[in-house]
């Protein structure tokens, strides 16, 4: 394993304001809930009735073969795509923009803004969505970059950063918005193997601090160590939902068993 950056305290109340993400509030409170989601692209039915809930402090890992609907489910949960039926009712774009700021999203391909520095990428949500003044936004963004181990890189543009550094900036960009929940869409799949550790380290720290998280991943080790529950998706449905011991030790579905063998 390569040397990992020091990860600081991420969910600092003094920095981000009221800790909406931590378990401090009422337990059993659903942060995200989807009932019977259906989604199709043309004739291709990508989600066939997915019911999925995330409570405060949950860390859920989502596994499954490509094309099983994992990423689509995440995008629907992030209110980035309308669904055909189910509880996540499609809302007009303008209303959605307000709700989306409560949800942090991290993408497989980072999707940093190439025309902004690392600092600019972390600041833009604060200045343009949260209406913070630039000075305040800069302080918050600098502190958050330092906590993901990138204080030295704030003036660099995305094209000058490694994949692992870019993904850590992307996590910082989502975190400064103080989201209720963080959604990760295969956050390490586009990384060179030696860069995976530094991103997972930040995510583990985040989970430890009580952030509510949904992580679509192929990292079985991460799911075992960090997740409260592991979910298996196949052909647009959730076919297994169990604590990690049970999921990996004694999966109920044949399909899950086969998938785990293939991944190992």
């Amino acid at each position: 394993m390569t040397q990992q950056p020091p990860v600081g305290h991420l969910l600092d109340e003094a920095l981000l304001g009221e800790p909406v993400a931590s378990t401090a509030g009422g337990a059993d409170e659903f942060v995200l809930e989807a009932v019977g989601l259906h989604k199709r692209y043309g004739h291709n039915e990508v989600l066939r009735g997915v019911t999925f809930g995330v409570q405060r402090g949950d860390v859920k890992a989502v596994l499954g073969p490509s094309g099983s609907g994992k990423s689509t489910m995440l995008r629907c949960l992030a209110l980035l795509e309308p669904v055909e039926s189910g509880e996540l009712v499609p809302l007009p774009e303008r209303v959605l923009a307000r709700e989306r700021r409560e949800i942090g999203m991290v993408f497989q391909r980072f999707n940093l803004f190439p025309h902004l520095t690392a600092l600019g990428n972390v600041m833009i949500g604060l200045t343009e969505v949260r209406d913070r003044d630039r000075k305040e936004a800069r302080t918050i963004a600098q502190s958050m970059l330092a906590r993901v181990g990138l204080a030295e890189r704030e003036r660099f543009f995305p094209s000058e950063l490694s994949g692992g550094q870019q993904q850590r900036v992307a996590i910082a960009r989502a975190l400064v918005m103080n989201p209720k929940v963080m959604l990760f869409d295969e956050p390490t799949s586009a990384l060179d193997p030696e860069l995976v550790g530094e991103v997972l380290a930040v995510m583990e720290e985040l989970a430890r601090e009580g952030m509510t998280m949904v992580v679509v991943t192929h990292e079985v080790g991460f799911a075992k160590r960090v997740a409260d529950r592991v979910i298996m998706m196949d052909a647009g449905s959730i076919i297994e939902d169990a604590p990690p011991d049970e999921f990996f030790g004694n999966p109920r579905q044949e399909r899950t068993r086969k998938f785990l063998e293939a991944v190992d």
């Binding site: 980035l80 303008r94 942090g104 999707n111 190439p114 025309h115 833009i124 343009e128 969505v129 000058e160």
Partner: protein, 244 residues
């Protein structure tokens, strides 16, 4: 060889030429500004979800890319007042007519360039911007537009240079721009080489100045922390040419 350099220099510094150059510059800038605004609107309409709007945009590009600029100039200057009597007044000057014709023309070209620029921006950019909670307007102005502008600078600069020269066509509708000035000087003196060479020098200077401006603009769109100072000019151009 018969080339009277004193006539040449006299022409270069004559008030008539300087006025002509001013008109050439003014027409170029006006036609480009309105052409780009039109082009942006048409490009956005082409990407619209509404079929009718898409159809309007497509038709605009289809017609005004097909018509020769010279024909368009005649249509606006001579044809339009016949159809719209309100344009028969003195206020409808050759400058206004030329601005309208060339803007419409440029709008059709710019629309395609801008559409290409919009297509070049990765879909993940819009997704990430929306995920942060940016409003649709800010998704465009803060995230999409800067990346679109970067790739459209070279082709739009090309259009600017073309426009600088296209303005000379307006001499046929009696606009007293640079070429018209040299025409009238030639028609009384028959010193073709001297007067036309003087006009050529002005066009050369104008395009050269614009090239410097273009390089300055491109430099602002090099997204590197070391600034562009650490890079040679060739490296800068290369980095600029690499489209993500």
């Amino acid at each position: 060889m018969e080339f009277d350099t004193s006539i040449f220099f006299e022409a270069l510094t004559s008030p008539a030429y300087l006025e002509g150059v001013q008109i050439t510059i003014a027409l170029t800038v006006v036609a480009m500004v309105f052409g780009l605004i039109l082009g942006l609107v048409v490009a956005l309409l082409r990407g619209s979800a509404n079929r009718v709007l898409r159809g309007i945009a497509w038709t605009y590009i289809w017609i005004f890319r097909a018509l020769p600029s010279l024909l368009l100039l005649f249509l606006v200057w001579d044809g339009l007042p016949q159809l719209v009597p309100a344009l028969k007044g003195d206020w409808f000057s050759a400058f206004i007519a030329a601005s309208v014709a060339l803007s419409i023309n440029e709008g059709a070209y710019a629309a395609e360039i801008i559409r290409g620029g919009l297509l070049s921006v990765d879909e993940g950019q819009r997704l990430a911007a929306r995920a942060l909670g940016l409003s649709p307007t800010k998704v465009f102005s803060k995230v999409i537009a800067p990346q679109m502008i970067r790739v459209t600078i070279p082709p739009l600069s090309n259009d600017f240079v073309s426009m600088l020269k296209l303005t000379s066509l307006a001499s046929v509708i009696s606009l007293q721009e640079l070429l018209a000035r040299s025409h009238s000087a030639v028609s009384t003196t028959f010193k073709f080489a001297e007067y036309y060479a003087a006009a050529a020098v002005y066009y050369l200077v104008l395009v050269s100045v614009f090239m410097v401006v273009q390089a300055q603009i491109e430099r602002r769109f090099v997204w590197m922390s070391q600034g562009s100072s650490g890079l040679s000019r060739v490296q800068r151009v290369r980095q600029f040419a690499t489209i993500r």
